[in-house]
């Protein structure tokens, strides 16, 4: 047997043993063990253990593969099934370590030292509860400790083998499998969210009951999830084609006036629905506009707009409406617009069917006439835009209050992330005190709008105060920027970190107490009004945040591709050279700080109005770290990355509050893994990833790629 491979297997085994023991002793397995993923079958704790085993098997196999193929050689020697022996060995070692832990847990009381080494943990490791008898019968060792130890060792071997085999599978099989399993874990984890979102009378309830039972997925739900996810993953690459095809048919065969009318009607009804939801609703139950023409069976299609928009109209926000008097008019308008829309859709379907029949009878050569490419591209974009806008507008109504609250938090961080992306990602100035600008935004909003007489603020409205807040914070940005102009990199980071803390401590200090309220902060910050709309509650604030996100995104995207963005980019890459190429680096540094601060201030302002009370405790350094962390997770400099990063770093932890004890641990581990596996972020901006990976594209590679692209181009043209 190959000695090196043996060593690899042993090393990975010990690595796995350490990870598994750590997970157990830190209490993760126990805490997660209380949460069912598939009710009665498997808990999150078990999934974690299983995943650890699988990962060890997989990684061992990868190491073996890299050992067999040391360099990127043209002819790869694929590792064979025989090589899974090493994976199995690694799995067994991991299993043995856990077995040993079980013996220790049984004989000795080590809880004085390790609090989590509890009988509960032993029970979990025995695998007697939780996993169904059917699964247990695969590992028939009966009851008791000895059987349990043996079982976990065998399980380790099986998982090692499975992990190794997973590596050997072709990617087209492996990906759907992994995604399927991952989706089960995710849906199981998010069962609470899904209950809030789906457990409402109507179609969604039956859907929920199909998938879930108790706190986890049902067995059939898990099966459906795996199959559906695997199928979608497997056919993922065909989806754009399919989409293009559908749009092509629609644009080719629907007359332009019909398309325009439909789009207009859809826009109108969306807007009306939005207006209704934002506070012009009357009482519950709202009178759902009837949908004429379509009346069938049990799944009541007559209520189709109402059903789809069900969440929209549900009274989850505030029930007291603003403009009660106008409600019937709006309601009637919605009915009218949607009736017309559904008539239009029905007409289109009839038209399409007629065309199809016509085409079939003609038995022509060309089945579907292709519209001109520009029209098609435009149509694709427009439809995608409509789908996106509709989805964004529906979200808070559909998911309910608590998830909306999470979305609001995510949105606040998206805005902040976009702002810090200007400073760090675009201009390359590592700012660790970004929270200061968020705080200045929040405090100035509070001071300008509070109705608390003891503060003696200006008592302005939110909208009146906003321009002032933005200006004040931008000036604060300049004030922070000016003294640190000569600093770079690490030094800049340390100084800005200091500034961030100074801001908080000043707000906390007795010195400023008469104005800023010290530790108690400022209270009685009024809600935001706009016209008749009162932005109270997360479901309505969501729209405000959404608009701020869109504006911030628009601004940063526009800046990125402009002369200013290029100057920042040059400064980020090489400050001295940027200067020599004619960029006034002093001015552009200040500009970056001011722009970053300006965007953060909007986030801060909404934050202040949302809470109604602000105090220094909300502006700790963690906010800066999270804002920076979401950049790193998403990919520094990448705008979609900011959104993804915010969901990962702010959204997920909010949804998984029950594990908040381990939040920082998981956070840290995720960051380390991220840096090791994908340092360029989840959605890297162009150019950056390559450099971080150290793969500089050689000239030859480049020429070859260009030639291939050309060949592919001429192929498709032919």
């Amino acid at each position: 047997m190959d000695n090196t491979k043996l060593k690899l297997g042993l090393r990975m085994g010990f690595f796995g043993a350490i990870v598994a023991l750590y997970l157990c002793l830190v209490g993760l397995i126990e805490t997660f063990g209380e949460r069912d993923i598939i009710t009665g079958v498997i808990s999150l704790g078990h999934i974690l253990l299983l995943l650890a085993g699988l990962m060890i098997g997989y990684l061992t196999m990868r190491q073996v593969d890299q050992h067999i193929n040391p360099l990127h050689e043209a002819e790869r020697k694929a590792p064979g099934l025989g090589d899974t022996a090493h994976s199995i060995m690694a799995g067994i070692i991991t299993g043995l370590a856990l077995g040993l832990l079980m013996l220790v847990l049984d004989r000795l009381n080590i809880r004085d030292v390790l609090v989590s080494a509890s009988p509960k943990l032993l029970e979990l490791l025995l695998l007697e509860n939780g996993i169904t008898p059917a699964v247990l019968s695969l590992l028939p060792f009966g009851q008791g400790l000895a059987a349990g130890v043996l079982r976990i060792v065998v399980l380790g071997a099986v998982l090692g083998l499975a992990g190794g085999a997973l590596y050997l599978l072709p990617a087209s099989v492996r990906r759907p499998l992994i995604f399927g399993i991952g989706m089960v874990a995710l849906l199981g984890l998010l069962s609470d969210l899904m209950r809030i979102a789906l457990d409402q009378p109507g179609w969604s309830e039956s859907f929920y009951k199909l998938l879930y039972t108790g706190r986890g997925l049902s067995s059939q739900g898990a099966g459906i999830t795996v199959v559906a996810t695997a199928a979608i993953t497997a056919f993922w690459s065909y989806i754009p084609d399919f989409y293009a095809r559908v749009i092509s048919i629609l644009t080719a065969w629907l007359p332009p006036w019909l398309r325009t009318t439909l789009a207009a009607l859809l826009s109108i009804s969306l807007l009306l629905r939005l207006a209704w939801f934002l506070g012009i609703e009357t009482a519950y139950p709202p009178t759902l506009p009837a949908c004429p023409g379509v009346t069938t069976g049990d799944i009541n299609l007559a209520q189709c707009p109402g059903l789809i928009l069900e969440g929209f109209t549900a009274p989850q926000g505030s029930t007291e409406g603003g403009l009660t008097s106008s409600a019937p008019i709006v309601s009637a308008a919605i009915t009218l617009a949607e009736s017309l829309m559904f008539l239009g859709i029905a007409a289109s379907i009839v038209l399409l069917l007629l065309r199809a029949v016509q085409q079939a009878s003609r038995a022509g050569k060309q089945q579907w006439p292709a519209p001109p490419p520009e029209t098609l591209e435009r149509a694709k974009r427009v439809v995608a835009l409509y789908l996106g806008v509709a989805a964004l507008l529906f979200v808070p109504g559909v998911v309910g209050v608590y998830p909306s609250e999470v979305l609001v938090m995510v949105g606040l961080y998206v805005v902040m992330g976009l702002g810090i992306n200007i400073v760090v990602g675009m201009a390359g100035l590592l700012d660790l005190g970004y929270v200061a600008f968020f705080a200045v935004g929040a405090y100035s909003t509070a001071l300008l709008t509070t109705v608390d007489a003891s503060v003696g603020g200006a008592q302005m409205s939110f909208w009146g105060a906003l321009p002032l807040v933005v200006a004040i914070t931008a000036i604060a940005g300049l004030m922070v920027g000016a003294p640190v102009l000569r600093m770079r990199g690490d030094y800049l980071a340390i100084v800005t970190l200091g500034f961030g803390e100074i801001a908080r401590i000043l707000a906390l200090s007795d010195w400023f107490k008469p104005w800023l309220g010290g530790a108690q902060g400022i209270i009685k910050i009024p809600d935001i009004h706009l016209g008749g709309i009162e932005f109270v509650g997360p479901q309505k604030l969501y729209y405000l945040i959404l608009v701020s996100c869109l504006i911030a995104y628009f601004i940063t995207a526009r800046l990125k591709g402009s002369r200013v963005g290029r100057a920042w980019g040059a400064m980020r890459e090489d400050e001295q050279v940027a200067d020599v190429m004619g960029v006034n680096t002093t001015a552009y540094k200040l500009l970056a700080f001011a722009m970053g601060a300006l965007i953060a201030s909007v986030s801060g302002a909404i934050f202040a109005a949302k809470l109604g009370t602000i105090y220094p405790h909300s502006f700790k350094v963690e906010v800066s770290i999270t804002a920076l962390g979401l950049l790193i997770v998403g990919g520094i400099g990448s705008l979609p990355g900011v959104v993804v990063g915010a969901f990962a770093l702010v959204g997920l932890p909010e949804l998984l509050r029950e594990f908040s004890e381990y939040r920082m641990l998981i956070y840290g581990a995720a960051m380390v893994i991220m840096m090791l596996v994908r340092p360029q972020g989840l959605l890297p901006s162009a150019g950056r990833g390559r450099e971080l990976q150290g793969e500089e594209l050689g000239q030859d590679d480049w020429m070859r790629m260009a030639a291939e692209a050309e060949a592919a181009g001429s192929d498709s043209a032919a």
Binding site: G569, M581, G582, G698
Partner: protein, 266 residues
């Protein structure tokens, strides 16, 4: 008529060492001048003084009548002076086109509001910046042009990085380009190309060029005039033949021929 670039009694010292010492220098419009000298002669320091990287300790530098000392690098660039670096310093993560577009920064003016709202004036300017940048890149033939424009600069080969650096300097619409060892690290064929390129830059684009060079073939091939430096001083000036045969220059490069007496002593 004043010289395009002129220095009188220029001094720069690092600690006790005078890297540039009482240097008088001038270059006429349309001239190609090479600056030679052994390592540590103060050539790059001279470039750094002229482009505003370092503050001078004394003397005077004028460019087209403007005093350069005390100005920031970006202001000097705006006056019409651009440079390349001894070690290639590109904006690695930016695309090839963007690298050159940055050069146009000092010839354009739109700011944040323009970028966000994109009024017609912004779009016209942006189109102009792009057009000019493409024009500079086209100068290098197919090497930097075409569908290569949107590739990041770090995807280029070494020689093409050097070319891109020149294109970026051209992009500032400078009158005078300072090149710091343009042929460093290139193979003989590429070196030859650089030499002809320097000639073309003047003949076709009208740039005045001052370059530091160690490769005497290049120096001989394109220079109208050669200036030799050692220990911060100008030690010789004139045509290539004159300078190459100058005894100070030979001494600076090869050392002084030992005299009979010294040999006897040893």
């Amino acid at each position: 008529m004043p010289h395009l670039l002129e220095s009188h009694g220029l001094v720069k010292s690092f600690g006790g060492l005078n890297a540039v010492d009482d240097l008088d220098f001038h270059i006429e419009e349309g001239e190609i001048v090479s600056l030679i000298g052994p390592n540590g002669a103060g050539k790059t320091t001279f470039f750094n003084l002229v482009t505003g990287f370092y503050p001078a300790d004394g003397g005077k530098v004028t460019f087209g009548g403007h005093n350069l000392l005390g100005l920031s690098p970006y202001q000097i660039t705006k006056l019409g002076l651009a440079r390349t670096f001894q070690t290639v310093r590109l904006f690695q993560e930016m695309t090839i086109l963007e690298n050159v577009m940055v050069g146009q920064h000092c010839r354009s003016r739109s700011g944040v509001l323009g970028a966000i709202f994109r009024p017609p004036s912004y779009r016209v300017e942006e189109a102009r910046i792009r057009e000019k940048a493409e024009e500079q890149l086209a100068f290098f033939g197919s090497r930097l042009a075409g569908y290569r424009l949107d590739q990041p600069a770090n995807s280029l080969s070494y020689a093409n990085r050097r070319r891109l650096e020149i294109a970026r300097a051209m992009g500032t619409e400078a009158k005078l380009i300072l090149m710091d060892e343009p042929s460093a690290g290139m193979n003989p064929k590429e070196t030859e190309e650089i030499a002809s390129l320097i000639g073309k830059l003047r003949d076709e684009r009208g740039f005045t060029i001052l370059f530091i060079e160690h490769d005497m073939k290049v120096v001989k091939g394109v220079s109208d005039r050669v200036v030799a430096m050692d220990y911060g001083h100008k030690i010789a000036e004139g045509s290539y033949e004159n300078v190459a045969n100058d005894e100070h220059v030979i001494e600076a490069y090869l050392g002084r021929k030992a005299t009979r007496e010294e040999q006897d002593e040893s």
